[in-house]
């Protein structure tokens, strides 16, 4: 059993990165491995946005990640610094900055790079999915 930390830097829709990362994560869990944390950074923070309306027949990427994480008890962390400047805010940040909506899907948590460093240091393997 190997523990993984995954970083997703590519945006959904514009890149394949979020889907590749999810497929990898599913395969890892199916193979008996552990996903210590998935950290969404750079444009990858858009994976945590609950607002997108995908074409008919497609499930929003945030919901795909949320369902997977809930089923396997996996930490989905969105980098707060990357997220704020891209308009991905939870309720607390939306209130703090007087913005009209909280855009972060509730299955994701906003946090700092310390969470990524923690995952880097404690996971046996680290993999990035970029654009």
């Amino acid at each position: 059993m190997t523990s993984f930390a995954l970083m997703v830097l590519g945006a959904p829709v514009s890149t394949q990165a979020p889907q590749t990362a999810l497929a990898f994560a599913r395969a890892a869990v199916q193979g008996g491995h552990r996903i210590l944390r998935v950290f969404f950074f750079h444009d990858g923070v858009h994976c945590g946005n609950q607002m997108p309306v995908p074409p008919a027949g497609q499930q929003p990427i945030a919901e795909q990640w949320a369902a997977f994480a809930q089923q396997h008890n996996i930490d989905l962390v969105v980098c707060v610094a990357s997220a704020l400047k891209r308009g991905v805010l939870d309720a607390g940040e939306a209130k703090r900055y007087d913005k009209p909506a909280a855009t972060l899907h509730p299955a994701f948590a906003l946090s700092g790079l310390g969470q990524w460093i923690d995952a880097c240091v404690n996971a046996e393997r680290l993999l990035s999915f970029g654009s």
């Binding site: 750079h42 790079l113 310390g114 460093i117 923690d118 880097c120 240091v121 990035s128 970029g130």
Partner: protein
């Protein structure tokens, strides 16, 4: 916290994309958490270290000034790609921070002795 040898590889030039700024955030956060950090400026990434950047002309903040803060975080292990310096017509004196020049073979060795390699 355990310590790992983290190599941050900067491959892209400043201002056209935001990778460099976010790479810096990772470098400083890693250093703040007592990790062993090195930065490699590879390919177009060597241009990040060019002096006399004036990003206010395009409404942006200076990466040169942000990079200058690296020594304050004890991030002093910087490497630069000799081949790319030549390609971008930069000499060591054109760089805003001291960085050890590496040949291609030396870059391979640096990658191989790192625990974690993050590309930006």
């Amino acid at each position: 916290m355990k310590q790992k040898r983290i190599l941050i590889v900067c491959r892209r030039p400043p201002y056209g994309e935001s990778f460099a700024r976010e790479a810096l955030d990772v470098a400083m956060a890693s250093a703040a958490f007592d990790q062993e950090i090195a930065l490699l400026f590879l390919d177009a990434g060597v241009t990040l270290l060019a002096k006399n950047q004036q990003p206010e002309t395009i409404g942006d903040k200076s990466l040169e000034k942000q990079f200058a803060a690296l020594p304050l975080y004890d991030v002093n292990e910087l490497y630069v790609d000799v081949g790319a310096l030549q390609q971008y017509r930069l000499s060591q004196t054109d760089l805003s921070l001291p960085a050890q020049p590496l040949t291609t073979g030396e870059i391979t060795q640096l990658l191989e002795r790192s625990d974690i390699v993050l590309n930006f």
